[in-house]
Amino acid sequence: MQRQQKQQRFTNPFTLVTDEIIFAILDFLGHDPFSRKSFSLVCKSFYSVESRHRKTLKPLRSDLLRRILLRYPVIDHLDLSLCPLNEGDSWDVILSLCKSTLRSIKLSPSMFFANVGFSKLVMNCSDLVEIDLSNATEFTDSGAAAIAKAKNLERLWLVRCKLVSDIGIGCIAVGCRKLRLINLKWCLRVGDLGVGLIAMKCKEIRCLDLSYLPITKKCLPSVLQLQHLEDLVLVGCFHIDLDGLTNLKQGCKSLEVLNMSNCPCISHYGLSFITNGAECLRQFNISYGPPVTLDLAKCLQYFSNLQSIRLDGCIVTCSGMKAIGNWCASLKELSLSKCSGVTDEGLSLIVQGHQELRKLDITCCRKITQVSINSITNSCTCLTSLRMESCSLVQSEAFVLIGQCCQFLEELDVTDNEIDDEGLKSIARCSKLSSLKLGICLKITDDGIAHVGTGCPKLTEIDLYRCICITDVGIEAIAHGCPDLEMINTAYCDKVTDASLESLSKCLRLKALEIRGCPGVSSVGLSAIALGCRQLMMLDIKKCHHINDVGMVPLAQFSQNLKQINFSYCSVTDVGLLALASISSLQNITILHLTGLTSNGLAAALLACKGLMKVKLHRFFKRLLPHSLLDHMQSRGCVFQWRDKATTQVETDPMEWKLHLG
C-alpha cells in the first residue's frame, strides 16, 4: 500500500494531505451513502482511505460479507440485523474476520445461534462493549451463558429473546458486571429472580428496560436500590402493583426517566413509594395508567426537575389538571393525547402554570374549544410542537391565532380539523416549520398550500391525506418552495396527476412518497420520480390503476435504496415484479390484487429478491406457490402475510369513506 502511495505522489495532490485530514473531511459527509460512494470511486487512495475511515457497517447480503469485512478492517460497529445468516459458514466468516477492534455488534434475528459461536465471538472480540440480540427468538440460556463471558460488556439488548429464562439472565448478571444498559423487553421467561439478580450483581446499571416482563413488586426494591439507575422502563408490567411496597424506604435518587405506561394496577399511593426521593426525575410517563386525580397529581408536585410528562390515554379529572398547573416544576413537554376528561378549564389552568411548554400533545381531546386555544396561544408562545389531531370543536379562527402567536412551531399536526386557507396562511408564517400534517382537512385548497410553499422552506414532511381539494398546483408550490422535502403523502387526493410527480421529482431528498388512490397518476410520473428521487425508500402506489410495468423498470434501475413498496391494485405484471426484484435493498413488499400476476412470476421474483423480510400476498397464492419455496424464503428470514380481501372493495371503499365522514 505504501508503494502505491509513492507512485501516486506525483499525480495526486491529495497525497500531500494526511489521512487524518481526509478523515475529517469524510466525517462531514455524514451518513449520505451516495457521497461516500462517489468519494471512494475517485481513485484507489481515496478508496482505501474511505475503507479505513468507515467505522460502522450494516450489510444487507450475507454472500458479500467476506469481501465487505476484508475491505473495511477497522469496523467497530457491525449491524447484521438485515443480513440473514443461516448458514454455518457465514457465521464462521464473521468470527474469522471480526477482530478485536469490534466493539459493538448487532446480530440478525434469523441467525440460528449456537453457543459455540457465541463463545468464539466473545473470545475473538474481547473488547466487545455492545451486543444487540433483539428479536433473536431462538436465543437460549446456553447462548446467554456464552455471552456472560464478555466481561467488558456494557450495553446489552435482549428484546424479545423469548427463550431466555432467569437462568440465562443470572449467568449474564454474574458474568457481565460492567453492564450499564440492559434491555429485557418481552423476555417473557424472565421473572423476579432474574431481574433481582441483575440488580444485585450489576451495580453500574444506568438504563434498565423491563417492559412486558412477568415481574411483580418483589424485585422492585433491589432495582430501586441501584445507585446509578437513571432510566427505568416498566411498560406493560401488568403484575406490578405498588401498594404493598411499604418496605421500600426510599426510591431511587438518581432516577431521571421513568416510564410506567400500561401499568394499570398502579395507584397514587404506590406511585408515591417509587418516586419518593427521586429528586432528579426529568421525564415521567404513565400513559394508559391510572386516572389522573388530585392525589396522583400531588404525588409529583415537588419534583422541580420534571420536564416532560406523558398522560396519554388516562382519565383526567379537573382537579387533577388544576394540581398539575400548580406543580413547582416548569414543564417543557406535556402529552394529554387521547385523555378523556380534558376540558377547556383544566387545560387553561395547565398551560397558564407551564408557560415554558415546548411540546404539547392534545390529540383527540374532543371537548376543547377555542377557549383552550386562546389560553395556549397566550401562555405558551415558545411552542415548537403542537399536536391537536381531531380537536373537532376548535373553530377555524383558532388556527389563525396559532399562526400569529406560536412563531417557533416546528411541528404541527392538525389532522382532521376545521382549518381553512386563512388559517394555513397564518401558519405559513412559522418559518421553522418542518412537519405539517393536514390529513382530512377538507376545507384547505391550493391557495392555502401555496402559502405554506412560500413561507416554510424548511418543510421536510407534509401530509395531505384525503385533502380532496388539492390539485397539481398546490403540490407544485410545495415542491418548489420546500427543496428539503423528505416525505409527502397525497393519498386519495384524486385531482393529483403526473404533473405533481414531475414537480416532486425535483425534491432530491424525497424518501417517502405515498400517492395511494390517485387515479390520475401513471407510469410516466413514476418514472420521473425514479429518475429524480434516488434516495426514495418508501413508495405506496396502491390503487394507482394506470401504473404498469413501464413504471417499474426505471424504478428498478434507479431507486436502489427502495426498501418498501406497495403496488396492490396496479396494472403491474410478472415483468414489472421481476424487474423490481433486482433492487437488493427491498425488504417489504405488498402485492395484492394484481390481475396480471402469475404464481410462476411471483415465485421467480421472490427467489430473486434476496433481502426480502416481509411479503404481503393474497391467500390465493398460498396454494399456488410451492411449499419448498415458502420454506426456503422463511429460512432466509422472510415472513409471509396472507390477506383475503375481496377485489370488489376497490370501487366501494372511497364511497364508504365519504358516507362515514358525512
Partner: protein
C-alpha cells in the same frame, strides 16, 4: 368417669387405704398422685357431667361395660364410691394448686406441708377403718357419733388444705375460670380416647402400684387428649409440615396458654386410637370408627359414625401449646427462648425431624435421608427433576433458593443443564409463571389429599402407592404446562401486533413466534 381417671383414683385410694402398709413409699407416692391430679382436673368434671350429654350412646354403653369390667378386678374395695367423691373434693382443692406460680422451692415447701396434711387425713381414715372392723357389733348411735367426729376432723383438715392450696400455685388465676371450658372440650374427647388407655397401659396400670408407671400414665392422658386435636384437624394436616416453623412468629405471652409435654414413647407411638374390643390400633379416629362397624350394628348408627363435634365454644377456650421432651431443645419448655409447638402433629414431626435418626433414604438418589416419611415422599417427587444447579455443583430443588445462593456468593453462576433444549421447555417453563413456591404449594396439596383420604386403609400403604403414581398423575406436563403456555400467548400479544405494523424489519420474529409456540405446545404434548 374415665377409666384412666378411675385408675389414678384407684391408685390414690389404694395408697390412701394402704398407707399403713406402705409407709416408706408414701412420700414419693403422694407426690405422684399430686402430679396426677394436676392432670386429673381436666377429667373429673367432664367425665361425670359430659358423658351423658355428649358421648354417643354407643360409647356410653361401651364405657359403662368397660368401666365395670375394669373396676372389678382393680377395685374390690367397696368404698370406692365414697373415695371417689372424696377424690373429687380433693381435686377441687388441689385444682388451684397447679395454676399457681412455678417457683420450685415454694412449691416444694407447700407440697411437704400438704404431704403432712394428707398423712393426717390418712391416719384419720385408718382410724375409722380400724374402729369399724373392731367394733362391728356396736350400735348405730355410736357409729354415727364417731362419724360426726371424724367428719369434723376431716373438714378441718380439708379447710387447712384449701388455704394452703391457695398459696401453692398462684400463677394463673384466670385459668380457674377458663379451665372448665377446656375441660369440656377434652371431656368429649375423653370418650374417644378412652380405648387407648386400656389398649396401651390399662392392664399394666391395673396391677401396678409403682410410681413411675403412674407418671407415665398421666402423660398418656396428655397424649390422648392432644391426639383429639389432631383428629379434629385431620383436614389441616398438610399444613402442619411447615407449621413447625410457621409458629415462630406467634407471640403468645407466656402463661396465656397451657403447655403440654409428651414423652418420647408417646410421640413415637404409631397409633393413638385403639379398638376397645379387639385392641387394634389406628392413627385416626375416623378410621377407628370405620373399624368399629365390624363389631356390631350398634356402631353403625349415624350417631356412632358421626365425627365427634367440637364443642361449640361460646366460652373462651384455653390455648394449648406443646413442649418437646428433649432437654435443651428450643421447643422444650425449659429453654430460655422457648417456642411452643402448635399441635400434636407439630410435636411429632418436630421430634422425628430433630431428635431422631433419619431412617428413610431416598431410593433414587440414595443420599438424602429423612426421618418423616412424608418428607421423603415430598422429596421423591422432586428427586432428579427440577434440579437447579449452581456452577459450584450445589443443587437446589427450588429456583429461588438457587438465586439466593448465587446472590450470596461471588462468582457463582447458574449452571445450564446439558440437555438444554429439552430442559428449557420443560422445567423452566413450569417454574415460570407460577414460580417455585407454587410448586411446593401444589405438592402440599397432593399431600393433603393423601392424608385426608386415607380412610380405613393403612396410610403407609396408600401413600406408597400414591407416591408411585404421582409423577404421572399430578405432575405430568400435560396438566401443568398448557396453562402456563396460555399465559404466554395472551400476555404479549398486543405488543407484537404493534411491532408488526410499525417496524417492518421486526417481522421475521413474529412469524417465527407463531411457528415457535406451535412447536412448543406440541413438544409439551409429547412430553
Amino acid at each position: 368417669m374415665d377409666l384412666k381417671d378411675r385408675l389414678s383414683v384407684d391408685t390414690w385410694t389404694q395408697s390412701s387405704s394402704s398407707g399403713n402398709e406402705l409407709p416408706k413409699d408414701q412420700q414419693s407416692f403422694t407426690n405422684f398422685s399430686l402430679q396426677q391430679q394436676q392432670h386429673q382436673h381436666k377429667w373429673e368434671d367432664p367425665s361425670v357431667l359430659d358423658y351423658s350429654v355428649r358421648i354417643e350412646p354407643a360409647f356410653q354403653e361401651f364405657n359403662q361395660t368397660s368401666a365395670t369390667s375394669s373396676s372389678l378386678p382393680c377395685n374390690p374395695n367397696s368404698q370406692i364410691k365414697n373415695l371417689n367423691r372424696e377424690d373429687c373434693q380433693m381435686n377441687e382443692m388441689l385444682e388451684p394448686n397447679r395454676i399457681q406460680d412455678w417457683d420450685p422451692r415454694v412449691m416444694l415447701s407447700n407440697l411437704s406441708f400438704l404431704e403432712q396434711k394428707i398423712h393426717q387425713l390418712q391416719d384419720l381414715v385408718h382410724l375409722i377403718v380400724g374402729r369399724r372392723s373392731q367394733v362391728l357389733g356396736r350400735t348405730n348411735e355410736l357409729v354415727a357419733q364417731q362419724q360426726q367426729l371424724v367428719t369434723a376432723d376431716l373438714t378441718s383438715i380439708i379447710v387447712q388444705l384449701i388455704t394452703t392450696a391457695g398459696t401453692l400455685l398462684p400463677s394463673v388465676k384466670n385459668t380457674l375460670s377458663t379451665a372448665s371450658p377446656s375441660v369440656g372440650q377434652l371431656g368429649q374427647l375423653g370418650g374417644v380416647l378412652f380405648p387407648s388407655g386400656t389398649g396401651m397401659n390399662g392392664g399394666g396400670v391395673a396391677q401396678s402400684s409403682g410410681g413411675s408407671k403412674v407418671s407415665d400414665q398421666s402423660n398418656q392422658i396428655d397424649l390422648t387428649g392432644a391426639c383429639v386435636i389432631e383428629q379434629n384437624n385431620a383436614t389441616e394436616e398438610h399444613e402442619l409440615k411447615d407449621e413447625d416453623d410457621a409458629d415462630e412468629g406467634e407471640n403468645l405471652p407466656p402463661g396465656s396458654y397451657e403447655i403440654l409435654q409428651l414423652e418420647k414413647e408417646e410421640i413415637l407411638a404409631p397409633h393413638t386410637h385403639f379398638c376397645m374390643i379387639c385392641g387394634k390400633g389406628f392413627k385416626r379416629d375416623a378410621n377407628l370408627r370405620m373399624h368399629m362397624r365390624g363389631h356390631g350394628d350398634e356402631y353403625k348408627t349415624p350417631a356412632a359414625l358421626a365425627k365427634p363435634n367440637k364443642e361449640s365454644s361460646s366460652e373462651p377456650v384455653l390455648i394449648k401449646r406443646y413442649s418437646c421432651p428433649f432437654a435443651g431443645c428450643k421447643r422444650n419448655k425449659d429453654h430460655k427462648k422457648f417456642q411452643p409447638l402448635k399441635t400434636i402433629l407439630c410435636v411429632k414431626n418436630h421430634y422425628k425431624r430433630t431428635h431422631c435418626d433419619k431412617s428413610y433414604t431416598c431410593s433414587r438418589c440414595n443420599t438424602k435421608k429423612f426421618s418423616v416419611i412424608a418428607d421423603l415422599k415430598t422429596h421423591e417427587k422432586h428427586c432428579g427433576k427440577d434440579k437447579w444447579l449452581c456452577s459450584c455443583g450445589t443443587t437446589f430443588s427450588r429456583k429461588d433458593k438457587l438465586f439466593g445462593h448465587i446472590a450470596l456468593f461471588q462468582g457463582h453462576t447458574p449452571a445450564i443443564p446439558l440437555d438444554e433444549t429439552k430442559g428449557s421447555v420443560g422445567p423452566s417453563d413450569r417454574g415460570e409463571g407460577n414460580g417455585a413456591a407454587n410448586k411446593v404449594g401444589s405438592v402440599g396439596f397432593n399431600f393433603s389429599s393423601n392424608a385426608s383420604s386415607g380412610s380405613g386403609v393403612q396410610d403407609m400403604m396408600m401413600d406408597v402407592k400414591r407416591g408411585a403414581d404421582e409423577p404421572t398423575g399430578f405432575f405430568s406436563p400435560l396438566t401443568f404446562d398448557p396453562c402456563s403456555l396460555v399465559g404466554f400467548h395472551e400476555f404479549p400479544r398486543p405488543p407484537f401486533e404493534d411491532s408488526e405494523s410499525s417496524f417492518s424489519f421486526l417481522v421475521p420474529g413474529s412469524c417465527s413466534y407463531t411457528r415457535k409456540t406451535g412447536g412448543e405446545s406440541s413438544s409439551n404434548d409429547l412430553e
